[in-house]
């Protein structure tokens, strides 16, 4: 059941059926009510969630106690992944993910992932390769955005700082 869920997610399509089963074995099906917190900003690095139905909000606390909505993700038509950075790294979650409706998800616990890594299981290494590529692309794109903004500011052109800000926060990796 769970591996069928993973099979629907583009994020996992690079895994063989057998590898998806291996990951699914250590995973669990979880549900959240609207308003429930799935990942809390500042909490220690945790699980990866494959959202298979429902909607979530991604929010970031800004200095001064304000909140900013970074994204609304809808898993109704296509499953989506949150928490992938926490699976790989040790830093605390950088944003809060909260259910905006009833949400169904597959949770891949960090402990499962780390156990698979220490056992040398290819599925876990392939998953980390996939996460690393996602992070590398996002970092490259952010660097380019910042260079572009700096050059634009230097040229004294009509710099649209709000557009710059919006581009910086696209596709935040929690």
């Amino acid at each position: 059941m769970l591996d069928e869920g993973l099979g629907r997610v583009r994020f996992f399509e690079f895994l063989t059926e057998e590898e998806r089963e291996e990951i699914a074995e250590g995973s669990e099906l979880v549900t959240f009510e609207a308003g429930e917190t799935i990942i809390e900003e500042g909490a220690e690095a945790g699980s990866l969630y494959v959202l298979t139905s429902g909607r979530v909000e991604v929010k970031k606390g800004l200095p001064g106690g304000r909140d900013r909505l970074l994204a609304e993700l809808d898993a109704t038509n296509e499953p989506t992944v949150v928490g992938e950075r926490g699976l790989l790294g040790g830093s605390a979650a950088s944003a809060t993910v909260r259910a905006a409706s009833g949400v169904e998800a597959i949770r891949i616990p960090r402990a499962t992932f780390r156990r698979m890594i220490s056992e040398g299981r290819p599925a876990a290494f392939k998953l980390s390769y996939r996460i690393a590529r996602t992070l590398a692309r996002r970092l490259t794109r952010l660097d380019e955005e910042v260079v572009e903004a700096i050059r634009e500011l230097e040229r004294r052109g009509e710099t649209d700082l709000e557009a710059f800000r919006d581009r910086l926060i696209t596709d935040w990796a929690v």
């Binding site: 790989l88 790294g89 690393a132 992070l135 050059r151 500011l153």
Partner: protein
């Protein structure tokens, strides 16, 4: 030292056992650079990564035309060019030898072939890179949050020069 290439003692490869190291050591091509020589040119090809075993390098990026931003000075043992394994093989910054450098090159395509064949050695190296990137991402997320807060605090009245200079100084490329 160059006659028997070894990755032993290089932090980047510390999780590999002897057999796995041997698999990668077959790919090593000895390379050396003189002080002042360019190892990677910003925007240029990044078709291999280098394991630097002696000497030190400087990393620069042309953020503004005519102005090279110094990003880092890194001493051996270290690895440069590893990002090319995960993205387009195009250098995001220039890397220049500040002293004479002894290094081993690893061809990107040959490494990626190993990875495609599920080589445990290649997988472990990528996992290490991923963990580094994950920490860098966390730091970048904090920078982005600060930029957003700053822009929203100074909407319309921002001192553009100050904002630009802080971006240059504080962004960790």
């Amino acid at each position: 030292m160059q006659e028997t290439p070894s990755l032993r003692g290089i932090p980047f490869f510390r999780h590999l056992d002897a057999e796995e190291r041997a698999e990668l050591e077959e790919l090593l091509e000895p390379a050396s650079f003189e002080a002042g020589e360019t190892i990677f040119e910003e925007g240029g090809p990044e078709g291999r990564l280098y394991v630097i075993i002696s000497g030190s390098v400087e990393v620069h990026k042309s953020v503004l035309p005519g102005r090279r931003q110094h990003l880092a000075t890194v001493a051996a043992p270290t690895v440069v060019g590893e990002m090319g394994l995960l993205t387009e093989p195009r250098a995001a910054a220039s890397v220049e030898a500040t002293t004479r450098i002894e290094a081993y090159g690893i061809d990107r395509d040959r490494f990626l072939e190993l990875l495609d064949a599920d080589s445990p050695a290649a997988c472990k190296v990528i996992y290490e890179i991923g963990r580094t990137l994950s920490e860098r991402m966390a730091k970048t997320d904090r920078s982005v949050a600060e930029i957003i807060a700053r822009l929203e605090d100074n909407r319309g009245t921002a001192d553009i020069d100050v904002f630009r200079d802080r971006l240059i100084q504080e962004w960790s490329f």
